[in-house]
Symmetry: C2
Subunit: 409 residues, 2 copies
C-alpha cells in the first residue's frame, strides 16, 4: 500500500471551516487506498500571538520555556484535526512530536531532528488509522519538548516521508505552488510545474516562504518527491524533485526571482588585517547558533579591513553584544548596522553555464538607479542586498527582463 | 525549610500585567525563606475558547483528543509564569502534569489522580528553583495526557501540598476569600475568616465556584491547611481547616448560602415499584461517569413511582439516551427534564444540632412565594431545587433572615 504524507500550514487550519476542508482532503486520499500521515502547523496566527505574549512579559524569554509555550500551537491543531476526522467516521489518532518518536538535539527554538523512531506511527497505520503528527517539535536528550525553528513543520513532514518511505510528501499551503516571483508583487508571475531540489533550495534560502530550506535539503538527500499545492483548490501544484532529469539546456536560464526582507546588514569597521580574524568573528556567532548569510570583506585600506555580513533581523539583538565583545578584543573601531535592507535573488539551474546572467542583473538594477550594497553568488543563484524600499521595483523589473512570465518550451 | 504551594486561577494569569503581579507574589514568598511550588490554570478564557473551537468542529469531540487540546492551556501558563520569574533573576522551571509526576486514571476529561511521584519536583526544589506545575492534568496508564475536570487545578495544588507536606496551600483567585453568599447577588455578604473543611465541602458542592469540591476532600483527608485569597490585594483571605478546633457552639448556625445554576432536573415517570430499579437507573449513569446529585422517589401511585434527580447541564446530553434505554427496559412511561431550575443551599456546621434551621428556610421561601421542587439535606447542609429565575431573590432573603452579614462573636 502506498503511503502519502500530507502537510498543512497554519492558514489551512485557522478556523473550523478550514479544518473541515483539510479533513475532506485527507479522507479523499485515504479512500483512494493510501496510508496517510498528516503533519500540521499551529492554527493561523497562534505562534505569533504566543511569541508576542511572551515578549510582553520579557524581552529575553528563556528558550526552554519558549519552546514549551510555542509547542502548544501544533498540539491544538492535531487534536482538532483528529477529532474532525473521527467525527466523519474515520479512524484517526493525533501524536505530539515526542509521541510520534521525533527526537531532536539540545538547541532550543531551532533544534535539528536527530532521529525518528516511527514505531508508534507504524502501529497506528497498521490499525488502519490516519495518523496526525504535530509539526515543528521533537523531544530532546533532556526529555524536554523543543521546536525546530521557523517553517519546522515542513521539516517534520519531509523527514517523516523519508523515514516512512512515502510515495510523496505533499505540502498544502495558501498558494497554488511555486511561482517565478511573489504574485503579490508581480501579478504576471507564473506557477512552475516542476522545479529541481537545488533551485527550490536557493529559492527557499533567499526568502520565498513557500518551503523551508532545511526541509528541501532533507528531501534532496533522501530523494523524497515533494508537491507544493493549495489546500483550497483542486489544481495541480509544483513538483519538486531531482534536478538533472527535469532541466534541459534549452530551458530558461532563470526560473525565479525571490526576495527576503528579514535581513539586516552588520559591519565591523577597521578590523586589523591578519589571519584568523574571520574565524574569530564568525566562530563567536556560530557558537550562539546565529546563521550568517552574505559576507564581504572590503579591500584593505592601510592595514585595516571593514567586514560586513547579513543575518536575519530576529538575530540582531543576540548579535550586537557578541560583536561588541569581539570588536574590543580585535581593537576594531565600530559595530554598525542597517536594518532597512533586503535581499533579492535570481535562481536557476541553467545559470551556471551562462555567465551573462549576473551582468544582466546588475545592469538592470543600475538602469533603475537601484544601488547594490552586497553581492553573493552560488552555482545557481545570484543575490544582491539593496535598500528595502526598492525591493518591489527590483522584483518587477527583473521578472520582466528575464521574461519569467513566459512558459519555457 | 517550609514549603508553600501557591495556586493561581485563570483570571490571575489572563494577561502580561497580571502575570507580573503573580510573579511578584511568588518571589515575595520565596524571599521570605520558603520553598515554593506554583500551580497555574489556563489563562483567562483559554479553556472555554478551545472547547468552543472543538464544538464548532463536532458536537461530540473524541475525549482523548479533547484532553490533548485542553491541556495546552495550562502549558501556556506555566511557560509564561516561569519565563516571567526567570526574567526577574530568580531560578525557576515549569513542568507539565506528566513531567511533574502526576498520574491519573483512564477516564478522559474527568480523570482522578492515582498517584504523584514528586522526584523531579524535589530535585528542582533542592537546586533552589521555584517549580511551576501545570494544573488540571496528568498522565494516564496509556501514557496519554488527561485532564481532571472543572476546577482540576485546585485538586492538583492540594494533592501536591499533601504529598510534599506543604505548610500551607494558598488558593489565589479574583475574590478576597470565601463569603457568606455571592457578593454579586448579596452586596452585604461577609468574608469569612475561617471555615471548616466540611462546610467548605458543602459550599463547593452546592455551587460556590471558589474551590473545587474534590480538592477540599483531599485537603480534609490529608489535613492540608488551605487559604483562599485574592491575587490582587494584600488582605487576609479565608482559612479552611479542621472543623472541631474552630467552630464553637455559640457561633452562628449557618455560615453561608450558595447556589448552583448548572443544574437540570430529570424525571422518569411510572417506574414499576420493585427492588433493584434505582440500582438499574443510577448504575447505568454511574457507568458513564455521570454524577447524580439530588434524588427523589415520589410516593407510590398504584404500583408505579416517579423518580426524579438532578445532574449538571453539561451531562444532560449524555444522560438522555441512557435514560431512554433504561425506560424501555423498565417499561416506564416517560423521560422528562427541566433545565430552568437551580439549587440553593444553606451551609453550617452549627446546623446539625439545630433542627429549626430547615423549617425556617422553607418558611422563608414560602413567604416569598418561591416553590420548592426538591429537597435534600446532609448533616451540615440543606439544599432546595427552585426555579432558576428566583435564585437571586432566594439568596438575598435567606442571607438576610439568617443574619449572615453580622460577624459571629
Amino acid at each position: 500500500m502506498s503511503l502519502v504524507v500530507m502537510k498543512f500550514g497554519g492558514t489551512s487550519v485557522a478556523d473550523p471551516e478550514k479544518i473541515r476542508r483539510v479533513t475532506e482532503r485527507v479522507i479523499k486520499t485515504k479512500k483512494a487506498g493510501n496510508q496517510v500521515v498528516v503533519v500540521v502547523s499551529a492554527p493561523g496566527d497562534t505562534t505569533d500571538n504566543l511569541l508576542s505574549f511572551a515578549r510582553q512579559i520579557t524581552n529575553n524569554p528563556d528558550p526552554r520555556e519558549l519552546d514549551l509555550l510555542l509547542s502548544t500551537g501544533e498540539q491544538v491543531s492535531i487534536a482538532l484535526v483528529s477529532m474532525a476526522i473521527k467525527s466523519r467516521g474515520y479512524e484517526a489518532i493525533s501524536l505530539t512530536g515526542p509521541q510520534a518518536g521525533i527526537y531532536a538535539d539540545t538547541s532550543y527554538t531551532r533544534a535539528k531532528i536527530t532521529k525518528i523512531e516511527p514505531k508508534k506511527i507504524l502501529e497506528e497505520l497498521r490499525k488502519g488509522r490516519i495518523v496526525i503528527v504535530a509539526g515543528f517539535q521533537g523531544l530532546n536528550p533532556y526529555e524536554e519538548i523543543t521546536t525546530l525553528g521557523r517553517g519546522g513543520s515542513d521539516l517534520t513532514a519531509v523527514a517523516l516521508a523519508a523515514v516512512l518511505k512515502a510515495r510523496i510528501c505533499q505540502i498544502y499551503t495558501d498558494v497554488e505552488g511555486v511561482y517565478t516571483a511573489d504574485p503579490r508583487i508581480v501579478p504576471r508571475a507564473r506557477k512552475l510545474d516542476c522545479i529541481s531540489y537545488d533551485e527550490m533550495l536557493e529559492l527557499a534560502g533567499s526568502g520565498a516562504q513557500v518551503l523551508q530550506a532545511r526541509a528541501v535539503e532533507v528531501a534532496k538527500k533522501f530523494d523524497v518527491p515533494l508537491e507544493v499545492r493549495s489546500t483550497f483548490s483542486e489544481s495541480r501544484g509544483t513538483l519538486v524533485k531531482g534536478g538533472e532529469k527535469i532541466m534541459k539546456l534549452e530551458e530558461a536560464l532563470v526560473s525565479g526571482v525571490s526576495y527576503d526582507k528579514n535581513q539586516v546588514k552588520l559591519s565591523i569597521t577597521d578590523v586589523p588585517d591578519r589571519p584568523g580574524i574571520a574565524a574569530k568573528i564568525f566562530g563567536a556567532l556560530a557558537k550562539e547558533n546565529i546563521n550568517v548569510d552574505m559576507i564581504i570583506q572590503s579591500a584593505a585600506r592601510d592595514k585595516n579591513n571593514d567586514i560586513s555580513f547579513t543575518v536575519t533581523r530576529d538575530d540582531l539583538k543576540k548579535c550586537l553584544p557578541i560583536l561588541k565583545k569581539v570588536r574590543n578584543e580585535l581593537g576594531a573601531s565600530e559595530v554598525i548596522y542597517d536594518d532597512k535592507v533586503a535581499k533579492i535573488s535570481l535562481i536557476g539551474v541553467g545559470m551556471k553555464t551562462h555567465p551573462g546572467v549576473a551582468a544582466k542583473m546588475f545592469r538592470t538594477l543600475a538602469e533603475e538607479k537601484i544601488n547594490i550594497e552586497m553581492i553573493s553568488t552560488s552555482e545557481i543563484k545570484i543575490s544582491c542586498v539593496i535598500k528595502e524600499n526598492e525591493i518591489g521595483k527590483a522584483v518587477k523589473v527583473l521578472h520582466s527582463v528575464f521574461e519569467l512570465e513566459k512558459k519555457s518550451a
